[in-house]
């Protein structure tokens, strides 16, 4: 199908983009790799597309004060090539190759993935696993929103109607950081049937903290806190038994299958957490 007609404006500044967002049914265009598909299928029909591509200062990757900040317009492919992300945000580096396909990663943006908040997407789960935050700008200026508070529901975030994601921030990995990532998809690059992004802080032979963030199992990425507590005691069997996810059935698998697969992934990721040394 073809998109319904819409107007198009290329924003010349972030402020201009924010004020254009006041227009009824205006939408932001960043990488467009989900948006344009929904336009083509007429699942959405905005009156105005505000093209953010070309805005300066939104596509940098920096390490400052032990925080990795990734500009919202950073393409997935650009992030994949980043030395800073490889060294200091290894969970994101591990997840990136699982996102769609090379042609899509050349266009898709980090900010777009976060703002779109697909429940089966990799980056929202990584942001949650890392305890990161989202930086957004709106009519009242900029603010930071913790990942825990950002993902509200199915494709629903804490962003106000005129707010724009400008960056994500994650704590830089330290010597004790351990990460794990696994997902099951029908075909490489497809949205996950179930996925798991995890980060932990090693302490002695065990872990001081573990954060498990499942995706594809609910309306948002979900922490499995009881399983985290069990894993902090290095008890993998108890962690799997403590998984209290209740994934709904979807086109890919039944809830029961997803719940089983979540346990399989937890075992794999638990192994990665004990093996990875950064």
């Amino acid at each position: 199908m073809k998109p319904a007609p819409f107007a198009y404006k290329k924003a010349r500044s972030l402020d201009e983009a924010v004020s254009l967002l006041a227009e009824k049914d205006a939408r932001l265009l960043a990488g467009g790799q989900s948006l344009i598909a929904t336009l083509n299928m007429r699942l959405s029909s905005p009156s105005l597309l505000i093209d953010l591509n070309g805005l300066n200062g939104l596509n940098g990757i920096t390490l400052k004060n032990n925080v990795v900040e990734i500009g919202a317009l950073t393409r997935h492919a650009q992030a994949e090539r980043s030395e800073i992300i490889a060294r200091h945000a290894p969970l994101i580096a591990r997840a990136l190759p699982h996102i769609a396909h090379p042609a899509i990663r050349n266009r898709g943006t980090i900010g777009g993935s976060i703002a779109y908040a697909d429940p089966a997407a990799e980056l929202p789960a990584c942001l949650l696993a890392l305890g990161g935050e989202v930086v957004a700008t709106g009519p009242k200026g900029a603010r930071r929103i913790a990942a825990e508070d950002f993902f509200k529901g199915l494709f629903e975030t804490a962003l106000g109607p005129q707010e724009i994601v400008t960056a994500i921030r994650v704590p830089a990995a330290i010597a004790q950081t351990r990460i794990g990532f696994a997902e099951l998809a029908r075909r490489h690059g497809d949205y996950a049937v179930v996925g798991l992004a995890a980060s932990a802080r090693a302490a002695g032979r065990g872990f001081a903290t573990v954060r498990l963030s499942f995706f594809g199992v609910g309306a948002t990425p979900l922490r499995a806190k009881k399983a985290e507590t069990a894993l902090e005691r290095s008890d993998v069997d108890a962690a799997v038994a403590a998984l209290d996810l209740e994934p709904p059935d979807d086109v890919q698998a039944s809830g029961a299958v997803k719940r089983h697969l979540a346990g399989v992934l937890l075992r794999r990721v638990a192994k990665q957490l004990t093996e990875t040394r950064l």
């Binding site: 319904a4 819409f6 198009y8 467009g32 598909a37 299928m41 591509n53 050349n106 266009r107 490489h188």
Partner: protein, 162 residues
């Protein structure tokens, strides 16, 4: 509203193009309908099948997931351009020799995508080839012959250009 259609200027296969396009027109529809470059195919129209793969500013993209207006000032290369320059001649020959196509609908996108992988140099493993081409659907061949063709060209190029 005037923003419904926009004047754009871009370079397509080395030639400057100035056109007025509807904001809602995708790049692949622009190439096919306005420029008669019908080598890029329209399959699923939502980014799944890869039949519309073209290059924008040197990188492969989905022609159905970019708007023509976004290509204002860009350099676009299609299968026609890559064929005329001879850049993918060896890939095309290998596809033909190894029956890596039957109906041919996916082939332009497949060749453009495979060329992006091969441009990185070296001889990728069969697994890496499969993974790289996972975003390009072929409903005829079962992929085996396509992987054969891409692998063979990677080896040829590695031998030919030390």
């Amino acid at each position: 509203m005037s923003d419904l259609s926009i004047d754009i200027s871009l370079i397509v296969n080395g030639e400057t193009v100035n056109e007025r396009v509807d904001a809602r027109k995708t790049l692949v529809d622009f190439l096919r309908e306005d420029l008669a470059l019908t080598g890029s195919h329209v399959g699923c129209e939502h980014g799944v099948c890869g039949a519309c793969t073209v290059r924008v500013n040197g990188e492969i993209v989905r022609g159905c997931l970019m708007l023509a207006v976004q290509c204002d000032g860009a350099m676009v290369e299609t299968i026609e351009g890559l064929s005329d320059s001879g850049e993918v001649a060896d890939l095309q020959a290998a596809f033909e020799q190894r029956n890596a196509l039957q109906c041919g609908y996916c082939t332009p996108g497949m060749v453009v995508a495979a060329q992006e992988l091969l441009r990185r140099g070296g001889v990728p493993s069969r697994e890496a080839i499969r993974e790289f081409l996972s975003g390009n659907y072929c409903r005829c061949t079962g992929y085996h012959a396509i992987v054969d063709a891409v692998e063979a060209v990677a080896q040829q190029r590695a031998e030919g250009k030390p």
